[in-house]
């Protein structure tokens, strides 16, 4: 059974000039222990999907319809108090900037112990021992001393390790990692990605990894969802999506990334830009930029259709199969 099921999720932002639909009919699953990558350009709705799952949508944003189920239980309609028990205990979160995710006024030990005590029935001494173990697991040397240090005494990469330890503190089943390496240098990024992968496997946590970096996705994830203008354009096993993209947007995105292995005089460019939320085109949202556009794309919106090993929201695959969800 899936650990997380997202079913036809719609997130809306009501405003004075009408309601903006930021996420439109998103459906996907995450299996226990799986790493699902969510990739897309800014404004595609990848962070919003993560925020909806951990129940941290900024008001006035709200889940307008659809369901989010964790271990078969709905979590999208829980109240504040009930959600607090799930956040941290069942779903951990890692954000982009490690400095703003940590409280500068408390030592990392106090923050870890607080999280552990809030969720697990252990004594203060046990919590501290557990915190030291977590720091050790995340590759912080001399954890017995480091536990009493403040966040400013750690470097950027070390802080992100503390944040990962914090996310894992109550042994959650799922970690939502929103651009965990974007604020870090390339050499440190590689350390953190391999740490995240290994430590989550060790603790048996599934990961939803949100990033705009296709390279990180390729190295880390089992499956990937490509988002465009608030919808999933393509979802499938990472190897197939990268090497045999079924959606023209995925194909364009892959060809736009400079390659380390071959020389190209010009990069493939996708003309135009992603539409704003208040001006999403009729039919397939990608149709004005799509090189393979045809008549049907302009007025009918495609669901995720089976396309080889992946599923893509594109009418090019309509002959294969009719729409399937999840």
């Amino acid at each position: 059974m899936s650990l997380l099921q997202v079913r036809n999720l719609v997130v809306e932002f009501p405003g004075r000039r009408g309601t903006l639909r930021a996420l439109d009919d998103i459906s996907f699953d995450i299996a226990p222990g799986e790493i699902l990558g969510v990739v897309g350009e800014s404004g595609a709705g990848k962070s919003l999907t993560g925020a909806a799952i951990i129940g941290l949508l900024e008001p006035p944003g709200r889940v307008a319809s659809g369901q989010i189920l964790l271990e078969g239980q709905r979590i999208d309609n829980l109240d504040h108090a009930a959600m607090r028990h799930i956040r941290g205990r069942k779903i951990g979160a890692i954000f982009q900037d490690p400095l703003t995710s940590l409280n500068p006024l408390y030592t990392v030990g106090q923050q870890l112990v607080e999280t552990i005590l809030a969720h697990l029935p252990v004594s203060a001494a046990e919590a501290r021992a557990r915190a030291i173990n977590l720091l050790q697991d995340t590759g912080i040397s001399a954890p017995e001393q480091r536990i009493d240090h403040y966040p400013h005494q750690f470097s950027g990469g070390m802080r992100q390790r503390v944040v990962i330890a914090l996310a894992l503190a109550a042994e959650p089943k799922l970690i939502v990692a929103d651009e965990p390496t974007t604020a870090l240098d390339v050499s440190v990024q590689a350390q953190i990605i391999s740490l995240l992968k290994n430590v989550c496997a060790q603790h048996g946590a599934a990961v939803m990894l949100i990033t705009h970096d296709m390279g990180v996705i390729a190295e880390t994830c089992d499956r990937v969802a490509v988002m465009y203008a608030g919808r999933i354009a393509e979802i499938g096993p990472v190897h197939e999506v990268i090497n045999m993209p079924a959606h023209p947007y995925t194909a364009g995105l892959m060809a736009a990334i400079p390659d380390m292995t071959q020389d190209r005089e010009r990069l493939n460019q996708i003309d135009g830009a992603m539409p704003r939320l208040n001006a999403i085109p009729q039919g397939c949202a990608y149709n004005p930029r799509c090189p393979q556009v045809f008549e049907r794309c302009g007025h009918e919106r495609p669901d995720l259709l089976l396309a080889g090993a992946t599923r893509a929201a594109c009418w090019l695959h309509a002959k294969d199969q009719q729409g399937v969800t999840a």
Binding site: D185, V186, Q191, M214, T220, H239, M254, P258, N268, I270
Partner: protein
Amino acid sequence: MSATPPKSPLVQARDLAMSFDVSPPWLNRVLERKPRQYLAAVDGVSFEIEKGKTLALVGESGCGKSTVARLLVGLYAPTRGDFQFDGLDAHGIFKTAGGLKLRSRIQMIFQDPYASLNPRWIVEDIVGEPLIEHGLITDKDQLKAKVGDLLKSVGLSPLDMVKYPHQFSGGQRQRISIARALATEPEFLVCDEPTSALDVSVQAQVLNIMKDLQRSRGLTYLFISHNLAVVRHVSDQVGVMYLGRLVELADKHTLFDSPRHPYTRMLIDAIPKMHDTGRARTPVQGEVPNPLNPPTGCTFHPRCPHANDRCRSTRPQFLDFAGVKIACHAVEEGRI
């Protein structure tokens, strides 16, 4: 330099250095007996760029690449070394009345297109400002026509000149920055992370425009980036910087196909590979040290797998190995 090349390169930086005074205030120095403190952001960097070519500088944050950019456009005066542009001592001329003329030949594109365009100005004013400032065009209609041409050359419409920056997307704003940089018809463009703030599909648009302009106008670029894949795409030569110094300088193919310096190898190995799904690797440990208190000898030695006593005590020279310049004792001694 041993042999003088037949034509001297357009850009020649020799032992450029820039240190910033980061001392505590005077009163603290007196009361707490703290010494003056300097941060060597760039510490002796030498390179050349031939006309029509692109040199890329790569490195992690704090390695001094942006400081080099600012030195070359004259935003900083170097604390040591000199910069020759087309055979002229640029920093000497920047201070004199002829400085304006020289500045019009060297222009800069900044990283953040949201911060580098004045939000209260329309595009016509933004792109036209250098033309007026340098006294190149005074006539209003001529100015409009010129700004229109510049916008067309970066793939925007002349009709866009009445709009404000907020009406454009990030990629379009970066094209406005490029149009502004091109206004004075410069020969040398210093581009400080021009695509880092952009999404990949938009990055491809901007990189393509930059390459097209280089071909059609014979522009020379200094391209600064931390993204090695982008650098590999745009550059002819690549310089790798670490803590204010160049550690390796080579032509693109040599550098990416057979990196010699351990830091270059580490950087290249750290890039996630797209077509190598699920690859496991052992990343190099450690992070960039604090530049206020750099390690002795070779500054990379605490993270280097090949470091020995000599690396810990003496700073390696930047030496030429068959056209590739490397600052590394291990390479010099033939250990790697």
